[in-house]
Assembly symmetry: C2
Homo-oligomer: 84 residues x 2
């Protein structure tokens, strides 16, 4: 078994309203920043012991399906790196 870190990024599907991001963008514009768009996402870094990187990615994907993401409104992606 090897120690991996699986990073699950959960973002809203295209078309789903994101009032938090909208508010953040407006606040940045009020501070004088010039930006075209802002999207927010949640990121989970999960340390797991797994046989290989594919196994770690599969388990992280299952965690996203079961708990971290809501399939009605969210997309997610999983990236796996070996811990040093």
């Amino acid at each position: 078994m090897t120690a991996y870190t699986a990073t699950v990024t959960v973002r809203l599907k295209h078309g789903v309203l994101d009032p938090e991001a909208e508010t953040t963008q407006q606040a940045l514009e009020r501070l004088g920043f010039d930006l075209e768009d802002l999207r927010s996402a949640d990121r989970f870094e999960i340390d797991v012991e797994a046989a290989d990187a594919d196994d770690a990615a599969d388990r992280a994907g299952e965690m996203a399906d079961r708990l971290l993401a809501n399939p009605t409104i969210h997309d997610y992606d999983v990236a796996v790196t070996e811990q040093e």
Copy 2:
């Protein structure tokens, strides 16, 4: 001017309690998942028009300093990619 996307990842400093991550980890464990640790972070994807990638990164860093991150409890990093 070129269109860039700057991704700002804001995470809690080491040692700062993260009850949301702790609750998420416990919920995953109750669902039968085996994990060593879970950390949560906020991710902002910011579309900006900038002269070059360094300019885009500087501006995103300034946005993090001014609004997105609280320096008392947060660390952040910035990654810039050119939009296609």
